[in-house]
Symmetry: C2
Subunit: 574 residues, 2 copies
């Protein structure tokens, strides 16, 4: 095994995370394909909806191996033959004969707050799984690394299971039950949360694995190395970007409806959630959601900008299901005419600023009406009802377009000859050249950012990591994506400052158009030096590629930071 140190400047300490050696694919093996296919398959077919509604709905994941459990399992398998025997003969697993994660009468009941308080050795390291609470401190204490704290500590292990489906092995759940110490409070089975001292009293709880950038409003990203583990990003560790407190909507009450206004007000519609679901055929789209400011921290190294200090994790890939916006707009009289070529569609959310103005933006009507544009009014994410953090009960999904336009808690749609006049449309999410400063900018000179440019990132290893080579080679993995449905046609990696470029293997299949999802990549490259700088860049189906550096891309708002991703790693020779 080897361990990594994940340093997050926004956390007071650092989270030390153990990865099992078994998690690493052999160089050029079919491992990655298997994982990819397996994950895609499970995402496509194995989601199933649970009854009820709320904010803690998540993936029902087919895989059994979590990092936590895989760690446990492989350690025992290697070191403790008596435990290893559990796998060989199921009948011998007497101590854990019960259904894993089920409520066990007689054990103490803990709240998710209780679990969240146990994230290091001083308090004990707790995790939860379904109704079960587990103290895995004994395992940590005998762990060869000694200094490891599992990323899932203080929360549920479930979101990680889709990432590590490769570790599916019988017996792991049974093993875990040996560390069972109690039950979760009823109603909290789905997620154990960190105690985040949440400033917005009614905001939902979040998974502690998210790297928090601001708490008020809540903004947090996915650790980069987790992004590359699965084609679909699990909902609970999907990045969150809010401008205001999270609305708490009861879609069954009469207070919620979606108002749709055509150019002629008489064509308006009012739909509740059920009406939307039944009146319009559902459509499913797998698409990347990315913040306009993703990777801003790299741009800030050139010169400070204004915006959240995003790393590379303000992005995720999810399956979205809902009604086609085109169908809804046809119902309010919008047509496929040339006349409306330059019209717009405005979206209002239920989140409001201190003046009660809603978060609102617009997109070109042509995108909304494009039969191949795949814009949907989504009520599901990753096979389950939207969570509150992702816009429950309704969010507009605009594949290929920046996340700022994907309005959450959607309550109003309006077709207009004019672009939305809101702050977010007119004075934010725009880009200027590096010589344009705040004191002299004329925002009207730049169009609102809609489609996004091509980007790519090394997710694993991370910048500054000490890495082990395998057969003298450095294994690199990451994601690449472009806006407008343009597929990734090539990812180039260099470990010699651009003198030589290696073509990375694309893990996920790619279409040249309507490619809304991302494409993960991997490369195994020989490195000769103890310190290596890695560069990655992608080429999309329009053969646009990334600029070399952030310097000439710099803009005062720190958006569209899409230069080559450059990281430095050092070889751990021990």
């Amino acid at each position: 095994m080897y361990s990594r140190i994940l340093i997050n400047p926004f956390h007071k300490g650092c989270v030390i995370f153990s990865k099992c050696l078994t998690r690493k694919p052999p160089a050029n093996s079919s491992w990655v394909r298997t994982l990819s296919q397996g994950t895609q398959s499970s995402n496509s077919h194995d989601f199933h909806e649970k009854d009820g509604h709320g904010n803690a709905r998540r993936l029902t994941i087919t895989g059994l191996g979590a990092i936590t459990l895989a760690g446990l399992y492989y350690y025992y398998k290697k070191n403790i033959p008596t435990v290893w025997a559990h796998e060989k003969k199921e009948s011998e697993v007497n101590t854990v004969a019960r259904e894993p994660g089920s409520f066990v009468d007689g054990l103490p009941v803990y709240t998710s707050d209780d679990v969240a308080k146990h994230r290091d050795e001083s308090t004990g390291i707790w995790i939860s799984y379904k109704s079960g609470v587990y103290d895995i401190t004994p395992f940590i204490k005998i762990h060869p690394g000694g200094d490891t704290i599992l990323l899932g500590a203080g929360g549920s292990v479930e979101p990680f299971w889709s990432l590590y489906a490769i570790h599916q092995q019988p017996g792991i759940l049974a093993l875990m039950e040996e560390y069972r110490i109690g039950n979760l409070t009823k109603g909290e089975e789905h997620l154990a949360m960190a105690n985040m001292d949440d400033p917005y009293a009614n905001d939902p709880r979040r998974h502690p694995a998210l790297v928090v950038r601001t708490k008020k409003p809540f903004n947090a990203e996915t650790p980069g190395f987790l992004l590359v583990e699965s084609f679909i990003t699990p909902t609970d560790i999907f990045y969150v970007r809010h401008h205001f407190p999270v609305p708490d909507v009861d879609p069954s009450s009469e207070s919620y409806s979606l108002e749709v206004v055509g150019l002629d007000e008489k064509d308006s519609l009012n739909l509740n959630l059920d009406q939307l679901k039944t009146a319009y055929a559902p459509h499913t789209v797998t698409a990347v959601l990315q913040c306009t400011g993703n990777r801003r921290s790299e741009m800030n190294r050139v010169k400070p900008t204004k915006g959240l200090e995003w790393g590379q994790g303000a992005i995720g890939n999810a399956v979205w299901k809902g009604a086609r916006l085109r169908d809804v707009l046809l119902a309010v009289g919008v047509t496929d005419s040339d006349e409306n070529e330059n019209w717009h569609v405005r979206f209002d959310g239920l989140d409001t600023d201190p003046t009660s103005a809603p978060y609102a933006i617009s997109i070109p009507l042509t995108k909304a009406m494009d039969p191949r544009g795949d814009v949907i009014l989504a009520y599901e994410m990753n096979g389950e009802q939207l969570t509150r953090d992702h816009g429950f009960p309704l969010r507009v999904i605009i594949p290929g377009t920046t996340g700022a336009r994907w309005v959450k808690w959607l309550t109003r749609i309006e077709v207009s000859k004019n672009e939305c006049e809101s702050h977010w449309q007119q004075f934010d999410y725009k880009s200027f050249n590096p010589s344009t400063e705040w004191d002299k900018v004329d925002f009207s000179t730049a169009p609102a950012i809609q489609e996004m440019p091509v980007t790519s990132v090394v997710c694993d290893p991370h910048d500054g990591e000490k890495v082990k080579l395998k057969d003298g080679k450095l294994n690199l993995r990451g994601y690449a994506w472009s806006g407008g449905g343009r597929g990734i046609v090539r990812v180039d990696v260099s470990v010699d400052l651009g003198k030589t470029w290696h073509v990375a293997q694309l893990i996920d299949s790619v279409k040249v158009s309507k490619q809304w999802a991302w494409t993960r990549w991997q490369a195994n490259l020989p490195v000769q030096t103890k310190e290596t700088e890695v560069w990655v860049r992608a080429v999309d189906s329009s053969y646009n590629t990334q600029p070399e550096g952030m310097e000439h891309l710099w803009n005062m708002r720190g958006v569209l930071a899409v230069g080559y991703h450059k990281i430095k790693v050092s070889v751990d020779e021990n």
Copy 2:
């Protein structure tokens, strides 16, 4: 006035070209807008078709001022009051009372070859206009610059007239008639050609202003500084890119037809040109045609590539008119279904290689069927019948897509589940990374280039030019364009190696989508040093931008050379 020296390494000598001071716009004046609007207007409305057909059809241009004539006119206006009087009283223009350019009985008759032999002072400088041949050597001799030879020398002045419409003034044609020496051979009225020692006996004649890259097959580009003069590039100086000799087609004979084959052969259509024109509504598109290898010469400075040594002029913007391909495909049973999402459309030209295989390529069917894709089967270019060099009688226009797909002399269209298997689809017009060499390339790993990336160029001044400043400022002009219909949202110019970026003024209006035309730009920048390096880069509506240099874009085929355009100019302080 100031003069420039245009050096073309492919010409034996150099062409010295004079620009009138009056041609230069005052800094930040409304001049450029006026020119732009005027030119667009004339392109939109003032084309009218002539009867007959053939290979020498061209723009009928509303403007009167050619560089030649403007030069004449302004010189006389300034220096020779007696001539200036012509303008004031038309009745006094006795010597030129005839219709300018008409056949004059009694004057000698010259062939266009004769005219082409008169391009410098040793032979005399001749030009033609309609049926007229003119020896303008006397004007050159009294010209203050002394060393100027007009670009139109040896050929027709007509293609330049749309470029210099701003010089429209009464009396110019009358003045020109004073230099009348003869008539052109009948049938050659439309164009006087250079004597190009044409290797392909039946190839059409071309305008001598084209910068020839190869003669067999004929490949030639437009001088860069002419490109920026007008929104629409005149047909006769539009770049030409051939793979083989030019077919000579008589569309009225039974030998020519367009065969259209759906997925089911029984749905085939055979159309002659008249049937195509009458059965399908005509559609007009203004779109850039650009060679995949435009700007290759800049990439060759990094390391040699294989391909034509294009400068920045293998691009042009034209008005195309024809039948929508979508309409024709609907007629052979192609539908808007998801089933054909990954199908292709193949186009065959009448030009063939030595094995008689036609030039053939394919594009994705989704582009062909996109109601907003504007793919047309064009029979007109710039308001007149296609010329032979541009595919007479029929060429497919695929806006936003590389020129290699715009098959000329189109004779067959076929819908297929498979991409075209031709050399040009499978083994050419593909791009690889800089480390991929001919001896180890696997062409199947790269998709055929379709949509093109964003690019921009400084057209005026050109690299190496000695320039005059105006009020200490350098006037820069050029074009910017992106594929896929993505409009140009910003052009940045730097004269200090990227430390400071200036936003250029966009001359032509821009849409964010379906922007198939280019956008010309201009900037007036203060320069302090005698030697200045100018950088330009553009940003398109997907906020993709150009990479900084050609080094990392380098590919063995020398395609997609879209790095910053960088030129060096020196200030002429005399």
